[in-house]
Symmetry: C2
Subunit: 331 residues, 2 copies
């Protein structure tokens, strides 16, 4: 910047004015400065600029997702990006892999970078460690899971309702031996889906057979193995509820592998690309990811813009999408 000022024959401050598009610089001087900028290949240093400006805006937000390569996380990231792009805000994206320690480390790392706000799909059970930050004014929005131990905005899905819909649907098709496949019960959403499914059955005067429940499933491979094992039992289930997309994919593989795709009913939680082109099409409880992403972005930027109202908790009700696999009758 000093070089630019020297070349243009003006003061530092004038260059600063031009670079920031401030009013009160004559067109002649502006042109001179711009020529010098081009000639020297000068690039404004945002960090130094932010350092001096009191407001400390870095025009950067952090997104802590479960795994940027899974379709739910990446669609969310994309929705946030679309909102951020309009404001020339950049996004620092990271994956947590359900590891609490990783969450702590990454939050720390993002705060050192002075992000203007944080989107978080938490891997920890409690987030008390963020209390001071939020009190200090850190814009913070939780997604997919509600905050515990800290007061902040959230956008979540009504997992109870979704799982109940799935239960009602399967019972409505005449099933009574239904298997439940789910993720770590320590995960809030996973626990809710299990209890929602149980209540759904209870409302139809049925109980979930504990022998047909497998939880703590972490990958599609584990889901496939688990379902194969369950199907090999003496009185196998006639229907399966897979409480997460990865789990549903494993379940599809297991049914395919045992030649039961058109004999055992399957309902998944969370839609994914191509679920409709499977044979049969996969019936799922769909969460509107685009919508979730838009709400998250709206809340986050409102906070960044100074909204200090009490936390908003937006709950989105998922809907059942009927495609065939969930409408198979007990054989």
């Amino acid at each position: 910047m000093r070089d630019v000022a020297a070349l243009a024959g003006v003061s530092l401050k004038t260059v600063s004015r031009v670079v920031n598009n401030e009013a009160g610089v004559s067109p002649v001087v502006t042109a001179k400065v711009e020529r010098a900028v081009l000639q020297l290949g000068y690039r404004h240093n945002l960090a130094a600029s932010n350092l001096r400006r009191g407001d400390a805006r870095t025009s950067t937000v952090g997104a802590l997702l479960q795994d940027v390569s899974n379709s739910f996380s990446s669609s969310l990231l994309r929705a946030l990006e679309d909102a951020a792009h309009q404001r020339d805000v950049a996004i620092l994206a990271s994956s947590l892999d359900e590891e609490p320690s990783r969450e702590r480390t990454l939050v720390e790392s993002l705060l050192r970078r002075r992000v203007d706000g944080l989107l978080i799909m938490p891997a920890t059970e409690r987030q008390d460690y963020l209390v001071d930050e939020v009190r200090g004014g850190l814009p913070l929005v939780f997604v997919d899971r509600r905050p515990q131990g800290v007061d902040a905005d959230s956008v979540t899905v009504d997992n109870i309702s979704g799982a109940r819909q799935a239960a009602h649907h399967l019972v409505g098709q005449g099933h009574s031996r239904i298997a439940f496949l789910g993720d770590l019960t320590a995960i809030q959403t996973a626990a809710e889906r299990l209890s929602g499914f149980e209540s759904g059955l209870a409302e139809r005067d049925m109980v979930l057979d504990p022998r047909l429940v497998v939880t703590e499933i972490r990958s599609d491979a584990e889901a496939m193995a688990a379902l194969l094992e369950v199907l090999a039992r003496p009185s196998p289930p006639t229907a399966v509820f897979a409480a997460r997309n990865t789990v549903a994919i494993g379940a599809v593989r297991a049914l395919r592998h045992s030649g039961l795709s058109s004999k055992v009913a399957l309902v998944g939680f969370d839609d994914f690309p191509l679920a409709d082109v499977l044979e049969p099409g996969l019936t799922v409880v769909r969460q509107d990811v685009r919508r979730i992403g838009e709400e998250v972005a709206r809340l986050l930027f409102a906070r960044i813009d100074g909204d200090v109202s009490p936390p908003h908790h937006i709950v989105i009700t998922p809907e059942l999408v009927v495609r065939g696999s969930g409408e198979i009758r007990p054989q």
Copy 2:
């Protein structure tokens, strides 16, 4: 930091030493400082630190991808993240959507933020605008498409070879009326896949019928419509090559819709989750995304670490994965 120094009763410099884990501070003083840090909730300001350090490391890299929500881009992002995480480097991720102007804007925005390096899946045809940056030492790695007009590292896939393999495979199954569905021919990879497919056919003494070629397809919906139209012609193709994953998905939908899934052969370029569970399984030319991501990360961090050797151009040969859809014989 000043407050911490005051509370701990030491100098600024000492606090700096503790915060940066520099050697030469007595355990007693270290403990005092750390206590003060905790008490005041002090957080080190990376931007200020980088400003002062001559080396100007922000521990941040930029990733300009085609679309963070598509599986190719997001898997690449994840691979880069895994390498970056070990070095405590954060990633600014953005989508270009094949829009050249967006690429220019975002590169500008990332450079203002002084990223340590840049990964780019270019949307522009030429990147001369980066010449000065690269000369100035900007670590820059191209992925999926080679740089044009600027000398920089790249990791690409041998599209010609992949498309030739697809052509040979389909011809080997006895097909002679083969449709080609592709993306914008202005995109380097798309053009290569078309010409590779043509050479593959030529090597078997066949030519691609121009009436069975549809390019400039931008989405799965467009691909579906295009294939439906082609299939409705008087002498429809007995096989289809879909030169991109989105296009392949649209093709699968079109075949499903017309009840031709098991009658018309289909080979896609680029694998995606669930391609194996379709009915029939989708035969694809697979690019090893994980491998590409690792190579990209390796090159980028080597440059960041000061490697000034001439540009490396890594070309990964894709392989045909046989799953059923590509082995259907002409009816």
